[in-house]
């Protein structure tokens, strides 16, 4: 009897253990997450767009720079923000490295998946265009970056850094190829066209992608305006695709933002789903310099970029609130902000980020404004890179900014009244080339307030020295009493993030990572 039991048990262990085919291998299938075969380009694209727009149009990584550029400051009553007020740069803040490389990783997935299928040429082009934007922004922040060896996964765990100028040249070539591909396939019926379900920026309009690509290319070229050795290259490259045209409407991203899942800018400065304004709204205030500019140039955009002192976007459309309800002309006395380094005016007496920026939870996030496109074109014309009517482009840029904010519900009229003022410096179209560039860059600065802070920092860094060519709106140094006298200007670049000396030390050292000084080390395109 007992022996029978034992025989039974032995048989049992052998049957269950040995005889079942796939006993071990069937557990290779992950029941918890999809793998590459399920991650179609259409499923990956939306996330890359929202992530990218979250960085470009977001606020986190660029908060410090927004303060440096006179856009923002902090309310009195809060702890003095020593880091920002004294230009303290560290390897963790400001920092955009991980954000961009994270987005590039997913763009690379699209690139690889699409390259494997001849019908997905449009997705190859789209991933290339977005990659160009990411890499441009990385070079502009860090100069030399991993590019040729980047994103190779286990194939290269320690990617070397490429020269910033080499990366730029490669991006221009890549954009040329993407544009050619789009043009060649725009009427190719077999090429899969994105739809509004995955292309949440242009809804699958490949012509828009073409214009967007050409605008990024022009930005890459104009950004190198101070590099004298590249002037003829810039001219040739700009001219070669000038006929394609440039972005003529705002490039906006909207996956379907709702009150519960708000647009990034609204999520930071708007009203939380549970009621109550987000803490950042009370803490971060519109800066004194930009308020001064709008006031001094009689700019009605003041009421859109800045809120009336002490008001909050608590109750959109509610009667008790004057954040959204004001009439033109503005009472300038209602708008107030401290200069960088001064942090005395409390929330109740200062302007928050205005109702043109914090519109509603469902507002689209801005990848690139038409205003920026026009100002870049205007500058390219003035510098002789492309042909066109610089004054007209300049006015179009101002008008596009008014349109984005929907100034007075009649933005074109208000824009025209604004730029038609005579003898107002940096508003009235001037005659000299230097003054024209200064006016373009000043208006660009005024238009990109809280929308694309990074681009304004780029413009300052390539033109800050008036003796070289033109001038940027003068943003005085921080007035912080504890600012070290050794600091004479705002930072030129970011430190490489801590991840580099920690995890890619050899390459970091080879690129001179340990020698970086944010106040003296320059990006290759800086004068």
């Amino acid at each position: 009897m007992k022996k029978i039991i034992f025989l039974f048990l032995i048989a049992g262990i052998l049957v269950t253990a040995g005889c079942k085919k796939g006993y071990l291998t069937e557990l290779q299938n992950n029941p918890n997450a999809p793998t590459t075969s399920a991650a179609t380009v259409q499923l990956v694209l939306p996330g890359t767009l929202t992530d990218l727009v979250g960085v470009v149009n977001g606020t986190g990584p660029y908060q410090n720079i927004a303060v440096f550029l006179g856009y923002w400051n902090y309310a009195g009553g809060y702890s003095f923000n020593n880091s920002v007020q004294n230009y303290v740069m560290t390897n963790s803040s400001p920092e955009v490295w991980a954000n961009y490389y994270g987005i590039l990783t997913n763009l690379n997935v699209i690139h690889q998946q699409a390259s494997a299928s001849p019908t997905l040429v449009n997705y190859v082009a789209i991933s290339n265009i977005l990659e160009a934007l990411c890499y441009k922004n990385l070079v502009d922040a860090y100069n030399d970056i991993p590019y040729s060896e980047a994103l190779k996964g286990s194939g290269d765990l320690f990617p070397k850094y490429d020269k910033g100028s080499d990366v730029y040249d490669s991006l221009v070539a890549s954009l040329d190829a993407s544009m050619a591909s789009i043009q060649a396939n725009i009427s190719n019926a077999t090429a899969v066209t994105p739809t509004s379900n995955d292309d949440i920026m242009f809804g699958g309009n490949m012509h828009d992608w073409l214009l967007f690509a050409n605008t990024i290319k022009l930005k890459l070229l104009v950004q190198q305006s101070a590099v004298s050795a590249k002037q003829s290259y810039i001219k040739t490259e700009a001219g070669s695709t000038a006929s394609v045209g440039y972005l003529d409407h705002d490039a906006l991203v909207n996956p379907g933002y709702t009150a519960a899942q708000p647009s990034p800018m609204y999520g930071q400065f708007g009203v939380a789903p549970s009621g109550g304004v987000n803490g950042d709204f009370n803490y971060i205030r519109e800066g004194g310099y930009v308020i001064d500019f709008y006031k001094n140039t009689n700019d009605p955009r003041l009421g859109y970029f800045a809120g009336i002192n002490g008001t909050q976007p608590n109750d959109p459309g509610g009667s008790s609130n004057d954040y959204y309800s004001f009439s033109l002309p503005l009472n300038k006395a209602n708008y107030n902000g401290d200069y960088q380094g001064i942090q005395t005016t409390p929330t109740a007496n200062s302007s928050g980020i205005g109702p043109g920026i914090v519109q509603s939870p469902v507002q689209s996030a801005v990848m690139m404004t038409a205003a920026e496109s026009y100002f870049v074109q205007a500058e390219a014309v003035v510098r002789g890179y492309i042909t066109g009517d610089a004054e007209q482009l300049y006015h179009a840029g101002i008008t596009a900014s008014f349109e984005y904010l929907n100034v007075g519900n009649s933005p074109d009229t208000y824009a025209q009244a604004y730029y038609s003022q005579s003898n107002v410096a940096n508003v009235t179209w001037p005659s000299s080339m230097d003054a024209q560039i200064q006016a373009i860059l000043t208006q660009k600065w005024a238009a990109l307030n809280s929308i694309n802070v990074y681009e304004s920092w780029n413009d300052w860094r390539r033109t800050f020295n008036p003796s070289i060519n033109s001038g940027y709106p003068i943003i005085p140094l921080s007035k912080s009493p504890s600012l070290s006298p050794s600091i004479t200007h705002m930072p030129f670049r970011l430190y490489y993030p801590a991840s580099e000396p920690e995890y890619n030390k050899t390459s970091w050292l080879a690129a001179g990572g340990d020698q970086v000084n944010p106040f003296t080390s320059k990006i290759f395109w800086m004068p």
Binding site: K2, I10, G12, A17, G18, Y23, L24, T25, L27, N30, P31, N32, A33, T35, T36, A39, L43, V44, P46, G47, T50, G76, G77, Y78, F80, N82, V88, N91, A98, G102, T105, N106, P146, K152, G153, S154, F158, P159, G256, A260, G267, A272, P273, S274, G275, G276, N278, G279, Q343, T344, P346, A348, S484, P485, S486, S499, E502, Y503, K505, V516
Partner: protein
């Protein structure tokens, strides 16, 4: 058959008394005729009587005593004195897979901890009872509270990825490490510890870090029922607070005018003196010193009715953090009943533990029930255990702003806040100063609200069962089969109540910019259920044969197990610290005080995770013994695992070891009165380990951040690269050791040296994001570990008067060095600022330092501001696991008194006091008062002058207050907060009195003992560590030596234990 055997043998009767080393008679000792099933047990007075064949040998065995064999000869009376098993050297130990082997035959290092030693400190968790008992074992209490975290490591950190914790076997069943916390230590018969890979090789890949084999009680052997009842009452108090300042009041860098239009109006900066004024609503403590100034005699801002909470502006004797915690009370009741004899026995154990924590309102309960037994039918026998336990913990959760823990909130409370004032405790009353709308701190919430409204509740049901069957099929063949299962069901629920504020509070009338009051917060709840299962079966065939002088034992076996888990989570709002701010959540509860996720608005978060792992293994194990003094043992095992990709999923594990008991062999030693035992041993093994989770052979995608938006969703590549070509890790271990006994084993000593090559270490290395991944799971490293372990046990005093002193000590030195890393990398990150760095001890703390003059090593300060700056590079500043561990145990018995002390030392390592860095920010630490908050010359600094660094004699920091401690680069240099982690600890002191001898006439009560004990009695630390217990660690993982404010201060416990035996 048994009858037949007896019939044809001559028999005689033998009787006697069995006594212990203290001279007292021993009940319940098994007396067995060697090689037969004839046995009996001693009665209550230690006497036995047995019919035996002629020329028999009697074997005396009993729990806690060394086995002893006595040749009877023609004697009719055999009295025996047993030696306590604390000095045993010939004992039988439980080795891999529950195989019992004589210690003398083992070629590797093991240790056994008896029930009595384990329960010396009356621990609630078995692992705590092992502290200081065994060389090479490091047991760390990583946090306290009602559910303390415990981490066990044998021979240190050898593997970079795996958690380095040993395999746990309970009665042969492999269980999850956290299952230990559900076991009643009183149910345990012994814990056998197999320290190294060689000892554990038979377990295959799971056991590279050694094994803890827990054997539970199966009932008594003496034929009489015995019932034991123990009641333990423990009182627990916070013992080691960080050094907190009580001198300076609130100020956090504010500017502007506050409380305009009230009698309390003031400027943040005094316009006449230029100094900062007291800010009564601050969390930071950089204000003027408490000087009794009546103008500052209040906290918080004026309420709507103009009332103000008046508090004298004087230094308090205790900070709010010290006032807040209460005395914790733990009650343990144990009842166990043993019955049975040598053939059939059973054991029933019941325990209830009720814990009230030092954190107000934190509670925990554990109830366990164990039923075990054994039956023998001739050649067939079986034993079984069934354990059920229920565990419940209910602890305070995070706050409603960013999920801050209560402790951190208290550390962010100005010293003069009377936190225990009824005014502050009464948060319900809308008019009290404790109400959310009125609370004085503008940046942190009222901790009393948090205690009542934010809770983490965990319940688990744990079931474990094992059945062992055994057939002695022939004199040379034993067949045994074991099947067991462990099932745990965990139900977690966390909730945080809604809170609303008066419009007056939300309007921020005084410009405080209060974070907690800027809007109403809806409720949140998080539910989780997890089901764990492990089913295992093992079959062994044991062949035994004696070839003249050689005893041979061959074991062939097969094993199979499957473990699986499934978890479901659902949440609305944010309740956990990592969940972001409540305002940013996509959903929340709609009925305040009702924590049912069914009543929510918005989109809830849901998650699901399934996993299943299977393993098949076959093995052979051969032991050869020559004349009982020379032993050779070898084993081989092959495993097939589902964790790795096909083609890489099988591996071999093998080892050989030998031992020579030279004291039996060398004639001059054999008869020595001084030298009683000597053995040398050696072992070699190659073992494998798979340190990855299920399904980590392919890359996967996650739902992109923020998605889905309505019907639109998106995928993004997971940050970890999973290499399908990964192979199992390999450990080659060489071990030698010696064991010596002197003076009848009153003094014994052991030493072990081991050397491990750890090859193909498999772990996720942190990468630069530029690689396209944030980490890669690859065979990334090779390390070497070496270690020395020493154990000494002695009985310095053993007197007839009953005075006995047992002393034992153990010491270990352990070092793991990184030899090479994947792709020629110089270093890889493993979390919590710990790194694996080629050529250095592992793991290393890797942080930024202040910029220093390379010539002198002195800190460089700015010639204008006098402030240091932080270097952009990182440097290694020390290993984060102890190099040296010393454990000391002393036990003194005198008459009815027993006095024990357990102490230990851990040294040769550093830890990162991250919480002190944060306390410097808030100004709560004594550290920030070093220079009286005045500008100072940074000590030992240099300054650049004419291109040279010269000693700084005249450049003062431009701010010696908040500008330095909270906002300068000083705080950005992690190296400033890395401290020597060495500590001496007196872990346990206990005194007990045994009333048994006074009750000898009582018929019913057989034993009565009363014990008073204190755990975590004293801790001695270097001066630089004025913060906390270096053992406390942020999370139970390899990244060690990192302290945060999520760990509470260490506590001290006083217990009173009453034990009655019937």
């Amino acid at each position: 058959m048994l009858t037949g055997f007896l019939a044809c043998a001559q028999t005689q009767t033998v009787k006697g008394v069995v006594t212990g080393p203290d001279g007292n008679s021993l009940p319940g000792i098994t007396v067995q005729v060697k090689g037969t099933n004839t046995a009996t047990a001693t009665n209550a007075t230690g006497q036995y009587e047995l019919n035996i064949p002629a020329n028999s040998t009697l074997v005396f065995t009993g729990v806690g005593f060394q086995e002893q064999s006595v040749k009877v000869g023609t004697r009719s009376t055999v009295d025996v004195t047993l030696v306590s098993s604390t000095q045993r050297l010939n004992e039988v130990v439980v080795t891999a897979l529950g195989i019992k082997r004589e210690n003398r035959a083992l070629g590797y290092s093991t240790a056994t901890v008896s029930s009595a030693d384990l329960n010396k400190s009356k621990p609630i968790n078995v692992a705590q009872g092992l502290i200081g008992q065994v060389s090479g074992a490091q047991v760390s209490i990583i946090n306290n509270g009602v559910d303390p975290g415990v981490r066990v490591q044998l021979r240190g950190e050898r593997h970079i990825n795996s958690d380095n914790q040993p395999l746990i076997s309970v009665d042969g069943m492999i269980v999850r490490t956290d299952f230990l916390a559900t076991l009643n230590p009183e149910d345990i018969q012994s814990v056998s510890i197999l320290k190294g890979a060689s000892a554990a090789a038979l377990y295959g890949a799971e056991a590279t870090n050694g094994v803890m084999i827990v054997t539970t009680k199966k009932g008594s052997l003496n034929g009489k029922p015995s019932v034991s009842f123990t009641h333990t009452q423990t009182f627990e108090n916070m013992a080691y607070f960080p050094a907190l300042q009580t001198t300076y009041s609130g100020y956090g860098g504010e500017s502007g005018v506050f409380f305009a239009g009230t009698p309390y109006q003031f400027n943040a900066t005094n316009p006449y003196t230029g100094f900062t004024n007291y800010i009564p609503f601050e969390n930071q403590q950089y204000g003027p010193p408490y000087d009794g100034n009546p103008a500052n005699g209040y906290i918080g801002s004026p309420l709507q009715d103009s009332s103000v909470f008046k508090v004298p502006f004087v230094s308090p004797s205790k900070t709010p953090a010290r006032q807040f915690f209460v005395t914790g009370i733990t009650t343990q009741d144990d009842i166990s009943m043993s019955t049975g004899d040598n053939k059939n026995s059973n054991y029933v154990g019941l325990q209830y533990v009720g814990i009230k924590g030092t954190m107000p309102k934190d509670v925990a309960q554990r109830a366990s029930f164990r039923f075990a037994g054994k039956r023998t039918y001739g050649k067939f026998s079986y034993d079984y255990t069934m354990n059920y336990s229920y565990k419940h913990t209910n602890q305070v959760g995070g706050d409603y702003t960013l999920g801050w823990p209560v402790y951190w909130t208290l550390l962010n409370t100005m010293p003069n806040v009377p936190i225990n004032s009824p005014q502050l405790k009464d948060w319900q009353d809308p008019n009290s100063f404790g109400n959310g709308s009125n609370y004085s701190n503008a940046y942190y919430i009222n901790p009393w609200w948090q205690v009542d409204n934010s809770r983490n509740d965990n319940k688990s049901d744990n079931l474990e069962g094992v059945l062992n069957t055994n057939l002695q099929a022939a004199s040379w063949l034993n067949i045994s089969y074991r099947i067991g299962a462990q099932i745990s069901n965990v139900i977690g629920k966390s909730w945080r109540n809604a809170i609303s504020f008066t419009p007056y509070a939300i309007s921020d009338p005084w410009g405080e910019s209060s974070t907690p009051k800027n809007g109403n917060i809806a409720g949140a709840v998080w539910d989780q259920t997890i089901l764990y299962k492990r089913i295992q079966q093992d079959l062994f065939l044991t062949f035994q044969h004696k070839f003249s002088d050689i005893d041979a034992t061959l074991i062939l076996g097969a094993t199979q197990w499957e473990r699986s888990s499934s978890s479901q989570t659902q949440s609305v709002g944010a309740t956990d610290p990592a969940g972001g701010s409540p305002q940013s959540q996509k959903s929340n509860l709609i009925i305040p005080g009702l924590y049912n996720i069914g009543f929510h608005a918005g989109i809830p978060n849901v998650g699901s995770y399934l996993s299943k792992t299977r393993l098949l293994g076959g093995f052979a194990d051969l032991t050869l013994g020559y004349k009982n003094f020379l032993f050779l043992h070898g084993n081989f095992r092959r495993d097939y695992s589902s964790l790795l990709a096909p083609g890489h999923n099988s591996y071999n594990v093998y080892g050989v070891d030998a031992s020579w008991v030279f004291s039996e062999n060398i004639a001059s030693l054999k008869d020595s009165r001084v030298f009683s035992y000597g053995k040398i041993r050696g072992a070699y093994s190659q073992t494998g380990q798979i340190t990855i989770n299920p399904y980590q052979t392919v890359n996967t995608f996650n739902v992109s951040g923020g998605y889905p938006y309505g019907g639109l969703t998106s995928l993004s590549l997971s940050g970890q690269y999973n290499n399908p070509a990964n192979v199992p890790e390999k450990t080659i271990e060489k071990e030698v050791g010696v064991e010596l006994g002197f003076l009848d084993n009153r003094l014994s000593a052991g030493a072990t040296y081991y050397f491990d090559d750890n090859l193909d270490q498999l772990f996720p290395v942190t990468l630069s994001p530029a690689t396209g991944y944030t980490s890669a799971l690859v065979n990334a490293a090779e390390t070497h570990s070496t270690g020395y372990e020493f154990d000494v046990k002695a009985t310095p005093v053993r007197s007839k008067s009953g005075f006995n002193w047992d002393l034992s000590g153990n010491f270990s030195i352990q070092t793991t060095k990184v030899i090479k890393l994947y792709g020629g990398a110089p270093n890889f990150g493993i979390g919590n600022d710990n790194q694996a760095i080629v050529g250095m001890d592992f793991p290393q703390m890797y942080v930024q330092d202040l910029n220093r003059d390379s010539a002198t090593g002195k800190v460089i300060v700015d010639p204008h501001t006098g402030l240091p700056s932080v270097s952009s590079d990182f440097k290694a500043v020390g290993r984060t696991t102890p190099k040296y561990i010393l454990g000391l145990n002393s036990k003194i018995d005198f008459k009815n008194f027993t006095f024990t002390v357990v102490a230990d030392y851990r040294g040769g390592y550093v830890f990162y006091n991250n919480s002190e860095l944060n306390l410097d920010f808030t100004g709560a630490s004594v550290h920030t008062t070093t220079n009286g908050r005045q500008n100072f010359i940074y000590p030992n600094s240099v300054v650049l002058s004419n291109g040279k660094y010269v000693t700084n004699t005249n450049v003062y920091t431009q701010d010696g207050n908040i500008g330095f401690w909270a906002y300068s680069d000083f705080r950005n240099a992690g190296a400033d907060y890395v401290e020597n982690a060495a500590a001496w600890k007196v872990r346990t002191i206990s005194l007990s009195y045994d009333f048994t001898s006074l009750l000898s006439k009582n018929k019913y009560i057989k034993g009565l003992r009363f014990t008073a004990l204190c755990n975590n009695v004293l801790m001695f630390r270097p001066k630089e560590n004025d913060f906390t217990d270096p053992e406390f660690n942020n999370g139970n993982q390899n990244g060690l030596g990192y302290n945060t404010y999520y760990q509470l201060p260490p506590t001290r416990q006083f217990s009173f234990i009453l034990n009655v035996r019937f």
